[in-house]
């Protein structure tokens, strides 16, 4: 899932400016696959362990935008909507831990910062990413 130009992006209560994209990926960390003696096809498959990662890319417009460090934990939240209006605004929240803070500088895009997170569930069972509607 990808969100372009999300609004009000905050991490651990601090607003992150100039965010261009937020990308959420879900991957199976462990896949259980079983066959039986009755045929050639997989008879059971499940994903008992999975990993949700979030990557945020933003434009760096000032020096010293490097306060966030790997291992930092907090709530990542942002808002998104189909248009620039306040209609159908959705808020996405996730408890996260920072896994990487990386930078890239190019003549085409300028200075970019990419912050990678791993989403953490409160109880291991519930989805770590919660989406809610905040606009009519």
């Amino acid at each position: 899932m990808i969100w372009l130009n999300p609004r009000r992006v905050t991490f651990d209560g601090t607003e992150l400016g100039h965010v261009r994209t937020v990308v959420l990926d879900r991957k199976a960390e462990r896949v259980v696959v079983e066959w039986s003696d009755t045929g050639s096809h997989v008879a059971f498959a499940d994903v008992p362990e999975q990993r949700v990662t979030i990557a945020l890319t933003r434009t760096v417009v000032e020096e010293g935008a490097g306060e966030i460090r790997p291992g930092d934990a907090g709530m990542l939240s942002f808002r998104t909507s189909p248009s620039a209006s306040d209609a159908q605004v959705r808020e996405i929240e996730a408890g996260v831990v920072v896994t990487a803070v990386e930078h890239e500088v190019s003549a085409k895009t300028g200075a970019m910062q990419r912050i990678s997170f791993i989403a953490v569930s409160d109880d291991g069972e519930s989805d770590p990413v919660v989406e809610s509607v905040v606009g009519a």
């Binding site: 259980v32 066959w35 039986s36 003696d37 059971f44 499940d46 994903v47 008992p48 362990e49």
Partner: protein, 123 residues
């Protein structure tokens, strides 16, 4: 078709497979411990050993543990009876002697637990 042990259908919540161990006779090789013979010595008939590997599946951990407990109880007795595999082959007089579960209960779309059961036709 489903498999059974001593008439009990305990394993059909999830897939499982049977493998037959080595059959024939035990062999004692020369110049090994307890043997100074210069040739292989043919010993007694091997016991039939069947290993069943599979996965118990349920909607809740409790449902899986209930299945596990039913199997464990048989191994602790230990229970002897006919083992019928997926092909309808009947392995008579098999004793369920050992049950081992995987290192973790898997909680995904379903709750499941891998296991391994050893049956031996004791002489």
């Amino acid at each position: 078709m489903g498999s059974t042990f001593d008439g009990l259908s305990l394993f059909d919540s999830g897939p499982h497979r049977f493998s037959l161990g080595r059959v024939g006779r035990y062999l004692r090789y020369p110049f090994t411990a307890g043997s100074f013979a210069s040739q292989i010595t043919v010993e007694t008939v091997r016991e039939v050993v069947i290993v069943q590997r599979g996965r118990l599946v349920g909607a809740t951990p409790g449902a899986v543990w209930a299945q596990w407990d039913a199997i464990r109880t048989l191994a602790e007795q230990p229970r002897t009876g006919p083992l019928v595999d997926h092909d309808g082959v009947v392995w008579t007089n098999m004793t369920m002697l050992e049950v081992r579960h995987a290192d973790r209960m898997d909680r995904g779309r379903a709750v499941s637990l891998g296991y391994e059961i050893t049956y031996i036709r004791l002489v």
